[in-house]
């Protein structure tokens, strides 16, 4: 832990009854950094966030904010949620429907016994920052989803918490707004130099918004790193599969040479790819190929195979081709519409990962 570390989670474990949810998770968040907790549902990402917030009860490990322990199982420290001074933006925004926008944002300051005129000033400042000042007297139900989200962020920021926690902040917006809000939120966090921990199940959201990603799987951290590392250097099959859109083919290792492995899939297809695991010759493996790495080729050649194209689908900015390999489907992208028939596909070995 360095003095830049603002949030430190060490070996945190949590169970519901006999069902372990977090099996010893450690992570750090540095000042001014955005870290995403990414994972499929049930991976424990929301539970980890809620445990940091003090809304779930871990049974082992520790959590520290700016060097102060707020939870430590060994030392029997468990600061209640209201004294942790953290900001949390809820998935549902959790605006109090009986309070106006102003009252929602003012409440944390009122609890902190801030003088009334200072409350007015600070709330309006926070609302202005988020472009909400004209909505102060409205009630939450009179706002759009995007506006509600901003109020929720204003409420979480108004008392300057050292860390802001965001639980699936974009999931309640519709698809089109989500991309705009993503850019807006990233910009806000960078501009206000916030330290943020974000839970998301959407890998593109995680990559776009964060400086680092923690990918959770079954209550443990599967891999962590920058978005670029997570995307292009997955350490396990799970990470490779979770990040990006993939073709996955199951076969057996036929030959190993220079860090590459040849995978035989039966029905004549065999591909060379990078060995990402220590699978030996004859063992069952999975080959992962990002969809964007597969290209139609003009004719025969090294690392090319001729397979059946079944159909092309128009996706707006590109076409998606669907191929049959035995009983499996392969997908690739291209610029043109292609009719059904035999086509040559190129499988560059550096883009084929063998796990």
């Amino acid at each position: 832990m360095t003095d830049k570390t603002i949030l430190a989670v060490d070996n945190l474990a949590l169970s519901y009854g006999n069902n372990p949810i977090l099996k010893g998770v450690s992570m750090q968040l540095r000042r001014g950094e955005v870290v995403s907790l990414l994972g499929p549902s049930g991976s424990g990402k929301t539970t980890l966030l809620r445990a940091v917030a003090g809304l779930e009860q871990p049974h082992a490990g520790s959590v520290g904010i700016a060097g102060r322990a707020i939870y430590d199982a060994a030392a029997n420290i468990d600061v209640p949620a209201e004294q942790r001074n953290l900001g949390l933006v809820f998935q549902s925004y959790a605006l109090w429907p009986h309070k106006t926008v102003f009252e929602n944002v003012a409440y944390p300051l009122k609890l902190r016994k801030v003088a009334a005129n200072e409350i007015v000033q600070r709330v309006h400042g926070a609302l202005k920052n988020l472009g909400l000042d004209h909505l102060a007297e409205r009630y939450p139900h009179q706002l759009s989803g995007g506006q509600q989200q901003r109020v929720s962020i204003a409420r979480a920021l108004v008392y300057n918490p050292p860390v802001i926690l965001l639980d699936e902040p974009l999931s309640n917006l519709d698809a089109k707004m989500r991309e705009e809000a993503r850019a807006w939120l990233r910009n806000l966090i960078v501009e206000m130099q916030l330290s943020a921990l974000v839970v998301t199940h959407d890998q593109s959201e995680a990559m776009a918004m964060s400086d680092r990603i923690l990918l959770l799987n079954g209550g443990v951290i599967e891999q962590q790193g920058t978005p670029q590392e997570m995307y292009s250097q997955p350490q396990t099959f799970f990470v490779a599969d979770f990040m990006g859109s993939n073709n996955i083919l199951k076969g057996h290792v036929g030959e190993i040479r220079d860090g590459l492995a040849r995978v035989d899939f039966g029905d004549g297809l065999a591909l060379w790819g990078i060995r990402r695991s220590d699978a030996a010759i004859g063992q069952a493996v999975s080959a992962v190929i990002r969809i964007e790495q597969l290209h139609l080729a003009k004719g025969a050649g090294e690392h090319r195979a001729e397979i059946d194209l079944v159909t092309s689908m128009f996706l707006g900015d590109r076409y998606e081709y669907v191929f049959h390999v035995g009983d499996k489907l392969l997908r690739a992208w291209g610029k043109r519409s292609e009719g059904a028939g035999r086509r040559w596909l190129e499988f560059p070995p550096e883009a084929v990962w063998v796990f």
């Binding site: 209201e82 953290l86 949390l88 429907p97 009986h98 409440y107 979480a156 008392y159």
Partner: protein, 556 residues
């Protein structure tokens, strides 16, 4: 944590309020005489006495007959009514919803009285029937009549639970069965009914249980021919030996609780499994009503006939009886109309007191009770520790004690505890008994309101720095304001309707209409009983009208 002290205080008070009276009943049942007599010693003689009493066994047999009989009538009719109301295109469904529930809110003693004045040997409807057909084929005072009336007036209870189960059932599951090739009849038999069967099982146990508690109807209808049930047997015991036979009453009460408490636990278990069943199904899609075609007029007339018998007949009887001086063959009712009975009521201070007390206990007492239930609800809200589980069971316990006995137990408490004795003849004792008797009902209202509050709204409060007490005050309670108002109105109606709980607490200063009717009925003051009954129904009706005006849901 800081809030554990108030939490412990609330739970301690609650446990005392519930267990002390019931404990006193058990204690009393094992004494040889009333507990205040120095000569009373521990013995089983009260049980020996009642087990030797042929009347006890007769009462038990009648109770079983009533409980089984009314279940057999109420459950099929209630389930059918629910199916017609929820699943079909019956005309006027919206309009019928409220009248169907009326019998729940009318005091059973008032209902019983209504049947006597309408269908009794000289009742209005009997007289008209005799004029038309020459003779009256029914006897309102037979055990069979009690069973039929009890069965028909408990149809709404069955309706409530089965209709909400049917409403939760998405028509997608039925449509899936239709598309797989099942006829509507097969759909009902193979899909709909099995899917609501947990709710039907629950309501079956509930009605059987209510059969054990029933008091007002057999008190009024069973008396002339001497058909006793356990509760009326207990009531008659009051002066069986000349001296207050508290030990015998306690023994009977203990016997009743020995049956009802397991039934309450069974209901709880069934309700939980029924909810699990409902939770299994997916999203409930929009429901499409089943087309009844020409059958809808048959269904409509059936419902009207039932409403006529279980609402119009008793209510009209009371209304008429309270406003005529005489009736019978050859009497033109228009010529004997009078307001004398109401004048008689208003002339007597006791009667006025009972009306004022009833209003006070419904409004002020109802608000206080809701406040108490809210305090209890907040101590267990979002908590899953042992204390919360303990409260869960405390709340269930009074459900097993019929109002008559609960009133008796509270009466004993105020007799037994020296510093409470001065409160015995104040309205506080009646309010306390009411609040304890309706604890489970009130808690269900409060808890369902509390469940509506999204947990994240409270968590957001915690995160921005509010402690639990602060969250309750600033977020939870303001958010359930409407639920609390609804609970207050429903508790008002229930408290106005209540009659048996106040029977033993009746003394100068603690009169309430319900208990007053029971006591006046015994003395034969039928004119006054009729007027009081109508006033009582009017009070409930005002509550009902206000509740409907505010859009309060009459059921959960």
């Amino acid at each position: 944590m800081l809030q554990t002290l108030p939490r412990r205080v609330v739970v301690t008070l609650l446990a005392l309020s519930v267990f002390f009276p019931i404990g006193l009943v058990f204690y009393q049942s094992f004494l040889s005489g009333p507990f205040f007599m120095p000569s009373a010693i521990f013995s089983l003689e009260s049980f020996v006495f009642i087990f030797d009493d042929a009347d006890f066994w007769l009462a038990l047999k009648n109770t079983l007959a009533v409980a089984v009989g009314m279940s057999l009538i109420a459950i099929p009719l209630g389930a059918l009514l629910a199916f017609i109301m929820v699943r079909t295109d019956l005309p006027g469904r919206k309009w019928l919803e409220t009248p169907i529930l009326i019998p729940i809110f009318v005091s059973p003693v008032v209902l019983g009285f209504g049947y006597v004045v309408s269908l009794g040997p000289v009742g209005f409807f009997s007289v008209w029937f005799q004029d038309l057909f020459g003779s009256v084929p029914w006897n309102i005072y037979s055990l069979a009549s009690i069973i039929v009336i009890a069965g028909l007036t408990h149809v709404p209870h069955v309706y409530l639970y089965s209709s909400s189960a049917l409403r939760n059932l998405g028509s997608d599951v039925e449509e899936a069965a239709r598309l797989s090739g099942a006829s509507p009849f097969r759909v009902a038999r193979d899909v709909s009914i099995p899917m609501v069967s947990p709710a039907l099982l629950y309501v079956g146990v509930l009605v059987f249980f209510l059969g054990f508690e029933i008091f007002g109807l057999p008190l009024i209808l069973g008396d002339p021919e001497g058909h006793l049930v356990l509760t009326t047997y207990l009531y008659k015991l009051t002066n069986k030996l000349g001296t207050p036979s508290y030990h015998l009453m306690a023994a009977v009460a203990t016997c009743i609780i020995a049956v009802t408490f397991p039934l309450v636990l069974l209901q709880r278990f069934l309700l939980k499994s029924a909810q699990r069943f409902v939770a299994m199904k997916g999203k409930s899609a929009r429901q499409r009503p089943l087309m009844l075609g020409p059958w809808k007029w048959v269904a409509f007339s059936l419902i009207l006939a039932w409403l006529f018998f279980s609402v119009v007949v008793p209510v009209a009887g009371i209304a008429l009886r309270s406003m005529v001086s005489s009736w019978g063959q050859g009497v033109n009712l228009l010529e004997v109309l009078t307001l004398d009975h109401f004048r008689a009521v208003l002339d007597e201070a006791t009667m006025i007191r009972s009306i004022v007390n009833s209003i006070l206990i419904g409004t002020l007492g109802g608000a206080l009770a809701v406040g108490g239930y809210l305090a209890i609800g907040l101590t267990t809200h979002r908590k899953h520790d042992n204390l919360a589980r303990f409260v869960d069971y405390i709340v269930l316990t009074p459900r097993a004690v019929p109002g008559l006995m609960a009133g008796l137990a509270v009466f004993w408490v105020f007799l037994f505890v020296p510093f409470l004795a001065p409160l015995r003849s104040t309205l506080f004792s009646v309010w306390f008994a009411y609040a304890v008797v309706w604890l489970a009902y009130g808690m269900r209202l409060i808890q369902s309101a509390l469940m509506q509050v999204g947990p994240e709204l409270e968590e957001a409060g915690r995160l921005v720095g509010a402690g639990q007490a602060r969250v309750s005050r600033d977020i939870t309670v303001p958010l359930i304001r409407n639920g609390l108002l609804g609970a207050w109105l429903l508790v008002f109606m229930i408290f106005e309707r209540e009659y048996s709980t106040g029977v033993y607490l009746l003394s100068p200063g603690t009169e309430v209409i319900g208990a007053q009717i029971v006591s006046l009925w015994a003395s034969g003051a039928v004119d006054v009983v009729a007027a009081l009954s109508l006033i009582n129904m009017a009070l409930v009706g005002v509550g009902l009208a206000v509740a409907l005006r505010f859009g309060v849901k009459l059921h959960d």
